[in-house]
Every structure is written in C-alpha cells, then in structure tokens.
C-alpha cells in the first residue's frame, strides 16, 4: 500500500462504533475487568487508545515495528538520548536544529555524554568520528537550515558495521518523501509539529523503530519519564496525517517555483534547495527520497536586506517553526539556531544574511509577489 493511502486510513475500522474518526480517549486510568486482569490499558502514560492509533499509524508509514508519541519533538529527541549512559559518545550532524544542539550541549554533556559534530554529507568524516564508545549517529536529512544531504544508506551501513545505531531526524521529509528505516536506519525521530501535523496548531514528537529490542528500550523510557502526547493532540496529529500527501505535493511544487525564482534574483546570493538540479545534494537526495521537500533557505547580500525582508513580508509570517500550510519565514541565526556559538554558525553558513522559508500551500504567484515586494519594494519587478 502506498504511503498516501496508509496515511488517510489511520484509525479507520478501528473503533467499535464504526466512527470514521477514532475517538479521543480523554482518560487517565482504566478500570480492570477483574482482579489480575487488564484490558491492555492501565494508565494513559503507559498506553492510551488514541495515542496507540497514532503510534501504530506512524510505525506503519515508516515501515517500522513500533511507534511512540511525545509531547514535543524535543521530548522525542530527549527521550531517545536518555537511552544512553555516562561515557557514551554520539556522532551528530553539525548544522542540526538548534534545540537538539542545546539539549546535547547543555544537558547531556553535563550528564557524561559526549558528542562530535561533523559534516554528515561526508560519510568518511562520519566514519572517522566513530570511537570505541560511540553508541549512535544522529542525522538530520536534509539538515536544518542549510538543507545539506547525507547518504543515509552509506552511513547506516558504516554504523551497522561498527555496532552503532543510526537515528535519522526525518522532520523535513516525512515518510511520504523518505523512509529512513528502509534505507538502513534503526530509528527515526520527528518533530510532528511540522509537516506531519501540518497546521501550526499542535506540538508533538514521534519516534519509530525497526526492531522490537530497541522498541522495548524506548518504551521503558517513554513510560518511565512520561513525556507523552495528550489524547487531544494525538487526534490532531492523526487528523493532520490524513492530508499529508496533498499538503506535501502542493508545498513541494510551490517550494520549487520559489527556489527557481530566488535563483534568478539579483538580490539573492545563494539558494539552498535540494530539489533544484543545481543543488549539490540533489542527486543523492533523489536516490533516497521522492522529492526535495518544502524548505528553501537563501542568503541575501547583507544583514540590512535580511531584516528588511522580515519586516516587509505581508502574506508570509515571520515566525519560528515550519511545515504548516501557511508559509513562514525564519531568521535562523537569531531564532532556531541562537544557542550555537556565533563563530561556529558563521563557519557553517548560518550567518546573519541567511533566511529560511517554510513554503505553505498558498497560491505560488501570491507568495512570489510577497517575496518580490519584500526584496525590491515593488511586486511588478518579478
């Protein structure tokens, strides 16, 4: 079955009343039918029927054996990091989401974990960074905000050979465009707040895994720490997933149109979009994903222009986050990646000239008009 079909069918035929939309079990505890017996549900932190539909749904979409839902993308990532112990080492994509960097650098390093940040587009660099105590490689594909593409197959192969887990943050691609477990990854993590839910109206995180043993370890942490997603929010994520394919198709088309237009703009120095044939990550991404996604980053000539664009956009909202039906623009150096060392940021290209667009499903012409007036002051120029 195709991903788009599976996504639409989540929760259908699962409720005893025949309800097409699975009910919201706004419930904390479950009555035991008799002493020593259980319905399979005891306490909603340990398992909730609405959450289970979502967890099984995302596992199926990813081709995994088990899924887990968390109260935010960061709660999902933190819960995964809690699998490790003092002395363990991680290899991590260098230009990754600032929140992931922060929790590793400011929380887990204090707890005795260490991390090496590498350019994961270079599989050899990843291989060289693996040490005896390395337990996992954490990849973002494409990276945030520079949209660089790592070779998931190759890196998973290297990791497996060295007894290291491969974890892929698939927030930007979603299972509709890429299925990292099929490419050899052991676990996939999502900020489901973004494309998965798709409406900028819910915070959520998801994890999927390829094997039961890892699944059991992740479940232990999910249940013990309890950073679980509430039933109403689970239902909103399920509702969002139903339109995953139509949203992404449209977002992708718009993103491509915008990336092409930006590439022709004199005011724009550089465009990062792996959906463009000229992008260095294009070929690799084509080999492992079904499309370039809906994130487009671009660099303007100076900070003044970047700030002017943020001030002048009318249709596009200046806000953090991404992946929703509405187009958003972000200033990564000062918003999503503000926790990184300025020098490090600059070296990687996350500078004060860089803007990141999350392209929505508005009419592409209206979006271009807005970008044009924000860059040049007039719409007609385009």
């Amino acid at each position: 079955m195709k991903t788009s079909t599976m996504a639409v069918q989540i929760g259908v035929r699962r409720d005893a009343t025949g309800a097409m939309s699975f009910p919201i079990y706004q419930n904390a505890t479950f009555s035991h039918p008799a002493f020593g017996q259980s319905t399979g549900y005891d306490y909603s932190r340990s398992g909730n029927p609405t959450r289970k539909i979502l967890e099984e749904g995302i596992a199926q979409l990813d081709g995994g054996v088990r899924g887990f839902a968390y109260s935010s993308g960061m709660a999902a990532i933190t819960s995964l990091l809690l699998l490790f112990k003092q002395g363990d080492h991680l290899v991590v994509t260098e230009d990754l989401y600032g929140g992931t960097f922060r929790v590793i650098d400011k929380v887990f390093v204090k707890h005795g974990l260490s991390a090496t940040y590498v350019d994961t587009c270079d599989s050899n660099a990843v291989n060289r960074a693996i040490r005896e105590n390395t337990r996992a490689i954490l990849l973002e594909v494409p990276t945030n905000p520079l949209l660089k593409v790592a070779d998931v197959r190759k890196i998973s192969g290297i990791a497996r050979g060295r007894g290291v887990l491969t974890i892929v943050d698939n927030t930007f691609m979603t299972p509709y465009l890429m299925r990292p477990l099929d490419l050899g990854a052991d676990a996939v993590v999502y900020s489901a707040t973004k494309f998965i839910a798709g409406h900028n109206d819910v915070l959520a995180g998801l994890v999927t895994v390829k094997n039961e043993e890892l699944g059991n370890r992740i479940y232990f942490v999910q249940n013990s720490v309890g950073a679980v997603l509430g039933p109403q929010d689970c239902w909103l994520v399920i509702r969002g997933l139903k339109t995953l394919s139509v949203r992404i198709d449209r977002q992708l088309e718009n993103a491509r149109t915008i990336a092409e237009w930006l590439s022709r703009c004199a005011a724009v120095k550089k465009v990062y979009y792996p959906g463009l044939e000229t992008d260095p990550g294009h070929r690799l991404l084509k080999g492992q994903a079904r499309g370039g996604g809906a994130m487009v980053s671009f660099e303007v000539a100076d900070r003044g222009i970047a700030e002017a664009v943020l001030k002048k956009v009318r249709l596009i909202s200046f806000a953090e986050s991404l992946g929703g039906v509405e187009t958003l623009i972000t200033y990564p150096a000062f918003q999503t990646h503000s926790d990184m060392e300025p020098k490090e940021r600059e070296r990687m290209g996350i500078n004060d000239r860089l803007l990141r667009l999350s392209v929505g499903i508005e009419d592409a012409g209206d979006l271009l008009d807005d970008l044009c007036q924000a860059l040049y002051g007039v719409e007609e120029n385009r």
Binding site: Q26, N27, A28, T29, S31, H32, A34, F35, G36, D42, Y43, S44, R45, N48, Y70, S71, S72, G73, M74, A75, T78, F84, K85, Q86, G99, R102, V103, K106, V107, K110, H111, G112, T193, N200, D201, V202, L203, G205, F220, S224, V225, G226, A227, V228, L229, G230, Q232, D233, L236, L310, K311, S317, F318, A319, E320, S321, G324, L328, Y331, Q335
Partner: protein
Amino acid sequence: MKIGTKILHTGNEIDPTTGAVSVPIFNAATFRQTSVDACGPYDYSRSGNPTRNALEEIIANLEGGVKGFAFSSGMAAISSVFLLFSPGDHIVACEDVYGGAYRVLNKLFSRLGIESTFVDFTDIGKIREAVRPNTRALYLETPSNPLLKITDLRAVSTLARERGLLGIIDNTFMTPYLQRQIGYGMDIVIHSATKYLGGHSDLVAGLAVAADGKIAGQIKFIQNAFGAVLGPHDSWLLMRGIKTLKARMDMHQRGAAKLAEWLQGRPEVKEVLFPGLSGHPGRAIHESQADGPGGIVSFRLQTEEMTKKFLGRVRLPVLGVSLGGVESIISYPVTMSHAGMHPDHRKRVGITEDLVRLSVGIEDPDDLIEDLESALG
C-alpha cells in the same frame, strides 16, 4: 484571601482581550513576530503557550511560589526536576515513594551518574545519617504513597537549609488546598496533576513550582530544552478541574474519614493507614502542617488471600491505578503503583501483599461502605 477563594480567583483566569471568563485554548504551535530585534511575549509553544501559562501562574500562586511549570505527566515533571542534577550528585528520598519516582531514579538517572538513597523520612536522624558531602537534595512525599507516613516538614526544611540541600516535595496527595510547603521552606513542589488537581481521571499532567527565581530559571531551561510540556487542551482541562478543587476535596476527606473509621471496626481489617485517625503516629505533625487528612485510605486485610478475594469482589470503586478522581479507585500497590519498585525494597518498607489503597471518591460514603461490606463478607 482564603485558599478556597483563591482557587477560583488568582487574577489570571480571565482572557484580557475578550473578557471571557474561561481562558481560551490556544492550539497554536508558533506565533508571528513583528520585530527582528525583540521577540513578542510568545514565539513557540514549547517555550510558552498562553493557555499553559495561565495554568502555570495559577499553580504558582496557589503554592505561594514564584513560577509554575506544566508538564505532560507527573513523571515528566519529576524527571525534568531530576535533570537539574549532575553526575556525582546524590539524592536522599523517602523510602515509600511513588513507584514511578523510585523506578526513574534507580533505572534511569543512576545510568547518568545520579545516586539516590531511600530512607524512612519519619525519622529525621535517618535522613541526617544518609546525607553525604555530594548530597544535593531531599525528595519526599507527605503523606507518603501508599503508606501515608508523615514527614515533619519543618525539621526536614531546617536540615535542608543547614546542609545546603534542595527540598523537593511531591504534594500530589494534599494539593495546595490542604498543604502549602513553600511556606515550610521547601524549594520545589511537584504534582501529578492527573490526580486531585485535575480530579476527573480524564487527563495526564504534571506541575512543578519553584520557590525562588534561581531555581525557576533552571527549571525553565530544562522545560524548554527537554520539551515535556503539557498541551493546551489538557492545560485547559486542568484549570477547569482546579476550579472545583475545594468542593471535591472537602467531600473526598469527609468520605475518607468515614470509611477509615468504619474499616477500623472490621475484624477482617488488620490495620488502617489514614493520617486523620487518632491512632496514626504522624497525626499531630500532620495537623500542624496541613489543613486536612486528604482522601486516601490504605489498609491491610488479615491475609493475602483475603485481600485478593476482596479486590475481586468490590463493585463501586473502580479497580485500577491512579487516584484523586471524583470516582473512587481501589488499587493493589504491589502489582500496580509500586510494581516498579524492587520486591525486596517493597517488603522492607511494608508495601506487602495484604495492602490495599483506596482513593475515596465523592460518591455517598454510605454507598461505598455498603459495597466494601459486601466485598469483605
């Protein structure tokens, strides 16, 4: 203002824009910004959400702390607070602590190099003996779960201050309506708000309140970085639950007192654990620091066999985990709330096969007595 009134009128329960007397549910992930230099009051819901913030201010106000934090579960609140510590740090915790807190300390935080020792908190000498040079915090429940033992909050706070330790208390059983520990010198108050604060067994939530700005800043950092936050819908449900806290709690206590007295008179019952009973060893201390005994009654039947038979026969209280809801819930701690605890540890502290924990709901107490009577007989 009396606490019962404060529960309804903390000052932030009204939406400033429309005057709506119920705070709106902001199902928003992100917030539009107007300036590059200065962020608006909200930027991303993990960092702050208006519905969640209203709840956080209410709990801070009720507990008398400087700042409140809402989490996706009681365990998420507890785990987020434990994340304040570093490898090599040591925590002294009360020995009959909630099984989930015991599990996370023993199986998870121990891997990150945080050590813990569990002692009987009714004995201040034992706590003092357990404190080491690397001890950073005392972690307790009073009354404790499920044995309803009472810790002397003034003595513990004095010890904590003398030795420079953080005092962390789980106030789930009492709620701020009955006990406000920041006044007794505690630094962090935690709740499984799933229980009495939510009160309807219809949501899973956790809260933490910091007594001062420094601790508040540390918890805020973890809450935002870890992101185990409570969603807006559940935040709203919790505020709705808090509105009836006094009315519910008054009835829970009345029912619990009646049931405890009644149980004490039954030959099948070996022991009743309830801080409102005159024979309870911690009663005087409890009465000096709390405004009521709460709604939880634990008791032991004569034999394990009798206990299991009894649990198989109760009809009105729901057999299940959790507590604090309007409906009575009866639990078997050994296999339910304290299944995460090592069997030897359970045995040592007295969480044994003859023990039952009853969360007395707001049904008519006579109906509950009638049901328990037929289950015993």
